[in-house]
Amino acid sequence: MSSQALFSSLVLIALLPLLSALVATVIPASHRWITPLASSLLLALASILSLLLSISQWNEPTLVWEKTWFTLGESTVTAGILLNNTTLVLLSVVTFISFMVHLFSIGYMAGDKGEQRYYSILGFFTFAMLGLVLADNLLLLFVFWELVGFSSYMLIGHWREKDAATAAAKKAFIINRIADLGFIIALLIIWGHTGSFSLTSFNFEEQEAWRTGAALCLLLAVMGKSAQLPFFNWLSSAMEGPTPVSALIHAATMVVAGVFLLIRVFPLFTPLALDVVVIIGSSTAVLGALAALHQFDFKKILAYSTISQLGLLVAAVGTGAYGVALLHLLTHAFFKAGLFLGAGAVIHSLHQAQHSSHVHFDVQDIRNLGGLRKEMPITFFCFSICAAALAGLPLFSGFQSKDAILVSVFSWSGDQVWRQAFAWTIVITSVLTIFYTVRMLWFVFFEEAKKTALLTIQEVPTIMRIPLVLLSLGSLWWMVAFHPLDFSGWLLDSIQPNQEHNLFITWLSLISIPTLTVLAFLWFKYRKKPTTLGFLQEGYYLDYLNSLLVTKPILAMSTVSERIDKKGLDGIIHGFAYLTVGLAHLLAWVDKNIVDGLVDASGRLAKGFGSIARSFSGGQIQSYIFWSVFALVISLFWFLFY
């Protein structure tokens, strides 16, 4: 394939979803049934194209195309595409999952008022995400980084009449925006010290402090986008959006953009910065897992699970094993998308059932569910496969990638105690993962039916089953390597070859994970009653903290500043002027309120001054003469004696 053709096809892949967005926008409402089909078709095309491209370009040397975007004085900023194996993996994952989600949405979103808008933004999101993946420099990457944030905002708030949804959308965008300040500042540092936005070479000329600073700032952005501590509460709120969106954006693709960014700019990170990355990642992982264990909302369990898994990814990058992170990113994308779509299928079916039976309860609360394995066997089957992958059972992709993470973490920790402590948090996270996965499965599918018993539940339509099946297939071991216990298969070796292996860990997990799973099943089967801890359920009260530390002070400041504007600012100028003229006017001033406006101020000031000037204009001619002569005499005295 010639370079030009390659470039063109990459651009085509990126533009196909945009075309889909356009199509969705321009199709008249009378023909809205075309929209889902056309969009899915275009995405299928993109997905196939990228798969083919990935296969043909796999393990080829890195390719870069760049064109001048704009010039600033003597410096030039380019825009272009960077193509290597990482790009190809993400390209395929994004297009494929997006295609799956489109397919699923055909059923899920059927009959929704804003269906066209939905597809349009879904297409736009995919385009932006592809742009992010392909971008060859930090500025361009940032552009798409923000655009995916925007799409996320639009999709979370898709149901505009739902106040919780729009509030969640706003929250997501603003929290991301705060974290993105880090990105901008990193851009500034990098531009200021290297004079370019290049993703590959960072020529800091011995200014390691700035380099670390830039890395940490980028990390801040990653913490926002990938929902790391302390920013992760937006992700659980984001579950207010349609479930396919959660699958695509808040599980498989957008949230991992942060990890992708870390992988891309890995050379920037100094050892110190990497240590911080591990600390953030592993803390998030364990806290997320703990919170997931205490949720009752179906989607929120998955959301906290995502947070926890993202923590693992970040921690993996921090240990230096960015290839491992990419590996887990890939597997996680499949099984988490599968889980979300499974959850979506359940919610969809229950909604449909509620419609026909007029029994209403919260279908996302797992305490209301149960026993669905009989009514929805296919969904149950696919969901279980993905859940197994999440829990890390052998023969599923999750086992291999998590194994790789554990290995790399322990190899990173070496003999240092504090590092080992963080390595053990990863282990704890894995254990917790098993427990919350089982808990979820148990409540939804195994336990005897509670409120769901009142409904006649049907399996989802075929069009929604296809993605489920395909994604569960993608959650099996062969996604990683043909050897079900070896993580360094076709993928890892092409990204970061020669990864260390640790058979002890592999074997240990091989034995312990199934054991723990069984134990978990038993635990949930014979537990007394569902317990939860408030602070875990509420996501560590991060929302309250947020409101206490950020929102409230800002609102207070804004009120203050507006009040300053309306009363104080002009009042200060006013008062200052008054003081210079004389105390007498202050008395007149106190009478009236200090109102807005320099005009008022100057007007009143002038009146004060004027009334002195006028005080000898009372209409009595002798007092006129008196004042004039008086002034004359006084000034003569002044001139002569002073």
Binding site: S623, F626, V633
Partner: protein, 170 residues
Amino acid sequence: MTLVAFLFYFFIGTAALSAIVLLFLKNIFHAALALLTCLLSLAALFILLQAEFLAVSQILLYAGGVVILIIFGIMLTTKAGGQAVPITNTGLLPGLAVGAGVFFLLLFFVHKSLFALPSSAQETIVNNNIERIGIEILTDYVLPFELAGVLLLAVLMGAATIAGFKHVKN
């Protein structure tokens, strides 16, 4: 002390005294008389200062013109048949203070300055002042003289117009 010197100080005294009296008189007719006294004393001083023509003019113009006009004015603006309204003061203290200030200013610096006041007046050699004044007025001062004429004409005409306006609406 010669007679001339005596007269000199005498008239200074009368002028000053009548002026001071003027300040405190309550009756406006008496005030006019005090003014007349003052003006006539000044005329006498003019003679002693060898300005005979001025002295004559002073008597004619001031005593004969201004004071008469003023007395007419008093009569016209005082209610007929009634007792003259006593004159009161307004803001006496500040007024006096300003007056005192002016007086102080005018006197304080005389001694300090190099003001070339001879201690006694020089005897003027020229005797015929009146003739000289006549010549000067028609040569050097012909222009002010003529302009004064124009001014007199304008003022008489204007004053007549104003004073003669009868159409008063109340």
